[in-house]
């Protein structure tokens, strides 16, 4: 592979990587091109290790990278692409030069092999054969030169604009275009010609066509994976983030979970660590002395060593009763992800009685934890009981660094929700937030106690899709650090 062809491949690979959730900056791209230039494209392992150092910056990214590398630079024809195969190929091409009939004819009967036909000087008189012989493709196929063939396919792919593929169903169409651009028609014409007259040559040429079709199809599929699959994924993610949580069907669960994990990771990295200098603690003598030079040695401005670590704490209470069951599943999943990244999160679940589920979330995998919560705490809603349970359980741990999030519809089957308990929580915590999956228009209708609830919260908000959830948690975390 030439360096130029290599670097365009590399750029495609980087685009592919970005689609796989590995962030690669333009600066990284430059480094990758340099590194590949230094290491060369001959040795796959060296290239893989070298690029890994430049492109993958964490264990998570490394595993995604290795997977992507194997997929993208797949050794599809292992006998010729692996370093061990390299020698074999040299041998093979040498021997075929020395003796062109070596690898094609094992039995020499009256039927002529393709090689014989092409070697035959009278072939020039036959227009079909002449066309076949002159095509670069045939030469590449015959010479067994993997590099030339790969280049030819690459050039044809460019001519056929294979990279514009957007839909999976376009594969057939693009494969055909690619083959046409390669000049496969000459092979097809020859095959038609030989079908009756030269059965052996016909077979050989069919085999060549088959292998060519395989390669073309691989190239097209790779183009789809690189250029379209990522877009499709992004589109699906985008769409899913906007869909009402209750409408998400079971087959989208896996994608949803991935999305939530990513969101929680993003939120955590944005808010995970903030510290603030505090004006007390141990005196920082060097800094103070240094500052005192300006004041003739009198330590006028003091500097302090202590750095205060702000530890934001979140307590999340999730309603898992029948009326919000469809949301609860996702909210629990989100809580699960959040607890994973913000270690000081405590999670509670209730419908009538309330209990802490923090340990389940840290011990069990997500499905198990969520179904356990639903099994134990599912039922009819009783906010009064739940809030009093919560206050018994956790009120003493709430302080001015605590944010309490309640996820629920505030429908209390027409009984008193004991909002005085809510007021108690509000008085002790930093922020009390109520997220309601119902639309704002429905608040206060029927048995909804949402309107009085809003008065006891710092923030009451509608939240029924992932995008809203992310925005709310984001503002919440910023506010938590801000003052």
């Amino acid at each position: 592979m030439t360096p130029a062809a290599g670097s365009s491949q590399l750029l495609a690979f980087i685009k592919f990587l970005r689609g796989k959730d590995v962030p690669v900056s333009p600066a990284d791209t430059l480094d990758a091109v340099h590194a590949a230039g230094l290491l060369g494209y001959e040795d796959r392992t060296t290239l893989r290790d070298g690029l890994a150092a430049v492109l993958a910056k964490s264990t998570f990214e490394k595993s995604a990278y290795l997977e992507a590398f194997d997929l993208f630079f797949a050794p599809q024809y292992p006998d010729t692409k692996t370093p061990a195969g390299e020698e074999n190929r040299d041998d093979a091409s040498e021997s075929s030069q020395n003796n062109p009939q070596d690898n094609s004819s094992t039995n020499t009967d009256s039927e002529q092999s393709l090689e014989d036909l092409l070697q035959n000087p009278s072939a020039e008189n036959d227009p079909t054969l002449a066309g076949l012989m002159n095509s670069g493709l045939m030469n590449a196929l015959r010479s067994d030169d993997e590099g030339t063939l790969a280049m030819a396919i690459e050039a044809a792919a460019e001519a056929a604009k294979v990279d514009e593929i957007r839909l999976f169903t376009q594969r057939g169409q693009f494969t055909r275009k690619l083959l046409d651009a390669l000049g496969e028609t000459a092979l097809r014409d020859a095959a038609i010609e030989f079908e009756k007259t030269q059965p052996r040559a016909f077979e050989e040429i069919q085999r060549l066509r088959e292998s060519l079709r395989h390669r073309a199809r691989d190239r097209v599929e790779r183009a789809y994976l690189v250029h379209a699959a990522g877009d499709t994924e992004d589109f699906l993610d985008e769409a899913l983030a906007e869909v009402r949580l209750a409408n998400i069907s079971p087959h989208q669960m896996a994608r949803m979970r991935k999305l939530m994990d990513r969101m929680a990771r993003k939120l955590a990295s944005r808010h995970g660590r903030r510290r603030r200098k505090k004006r007390r603690g141990q005196l920082n003598v060097p800094m103070t002395l240094r500052a005192s030079v300006a004041t003739d040695g009198i330590p006028f401005n003091t500097h302090w060593r202590q750095i205060q670590r702000k530890k934001p704490q979140v307590m999340a209470i999730c309603d898992v009763s029948g009326s919000v069951a469809a949301y609860a599943k996702f909210l629990l999943m989100f809580l699960y992800a959040l607890q994973d990244v913000l270690p000081r999160t405590r999670s509670f679940a209730f419908s009538s009685s309330l209990g802490e589920v923090t340990n389940w979330f840290s011990e069990f995998p997500v499905e198990e934890a969520v179904s356990r919560v639903n099994r134990v705490y599912g039922g009819a809603t009783d906010y009064a009981r739940a809030l009093s349970d919560f206050n018994d359980l956790a009120l003493q741990d709430i302080n001015k660094a605590t944010t309490v999030i309640i996820l629920g519809d505030a429908r209390n089957n027409n009984s008193d929700p004991r909002l005085d308990l809510l007021a108690e929580i509000k008085a002790k915590c930093k922020r009390l937030i109520w997220l309601n999956p119902e639309s704002r228009l429905a608040w206060g209708t029927g048995d909804s106690a949402m309107l009085p609830v809003t008065q006891h919260c710092h923030l009451a908000s509608e939240c029924n899709n992932l995008r809203q959830l992310e925005r709310i948690i984001d503002t919440l975390l910023s506010a938590m650090h801000g003052n």
Partner: protein, 313 residues
Amino acid sequence: MDTTLYPQLDDVNAISTAFGDAGYICTPRIATVVYLAAALNKPILVEGPPGVGKTELAKTCAEVIAKPLVRLQCYEGLDEAKALYEWKYGKQLLYTQILKEQLGDILGGAKGLKESIQRLHSTGDVFYAKEFLEPRPLLRAMEQDDGAVLLIDEIDKADFEFESLLLEVLSDYQISIPEIGTIQARSKPMVFLTSNDTRDLSDALKRRCLHLHIPFPSIELESRIVTARVPELESQLSDQLVRFVHAIRELDLKKSPAISETLDWARSLVLLHANQLDSGLVHDTLNVLLKYEEDIVEAEGQLGKLLKIADGL
């Protein structure tokens, strides 16, 4: 590209050989990354469990290229005054006191406040000159005339803010001192950062580095390391020992033994003139390998099985 500075590092295979000669058996992956770091002038961020030879890699590199090793050990609370530079405030204070009397000479004959100030200005910022600057490791590494190895050890122990402090050094090999200006590295050092993965490093820092993860070695590699480092150990015993350590890593331990512990154990066995691993010997020396009482108890419970594996059964 500054290949002239570190000619020992301009070929992947040569690096493998040179490091091997210096007693550091490195995988092709490590050699590739070291080569790229030298060629691209980029720092290497080395991650991995404790004791797999992260710090050793930097030391060996210094040995191979025959340049001084400047080491900065990170800890919580490390700040620029300890890592970059510090003004010699004592000297500054002393000099201002002493030189107070000189003021009369400088200002002698000056008419009016304006002229006096003018004269003072013309003397320049004498107290914030290089003479009053105390270089700390990072600045020292920048000031080496023909290359150095800068080792920033256990960067994950330092505060988050400290990482930001490093960015200028790592990407441009320069240090900005407000009072003086920017100090450019006289020659670009090879930079190694090590991290035990106790916390995530910032993306900004990671972006400026090549990333190298060193895992626990394979049996074959560890045997080679033991042979290179403890040549006195008989090869049969060394194989047995490495297999034993690998089996022990499979157990559910609080702290798995790393290469450094394997080497310590090998050296202990040499001192004890052992020529065969048996349960008595292992029992007496297991505390070299394992650092927690509960781990030792756990391993001793399975000693028979472990020894069988060590014997290759």
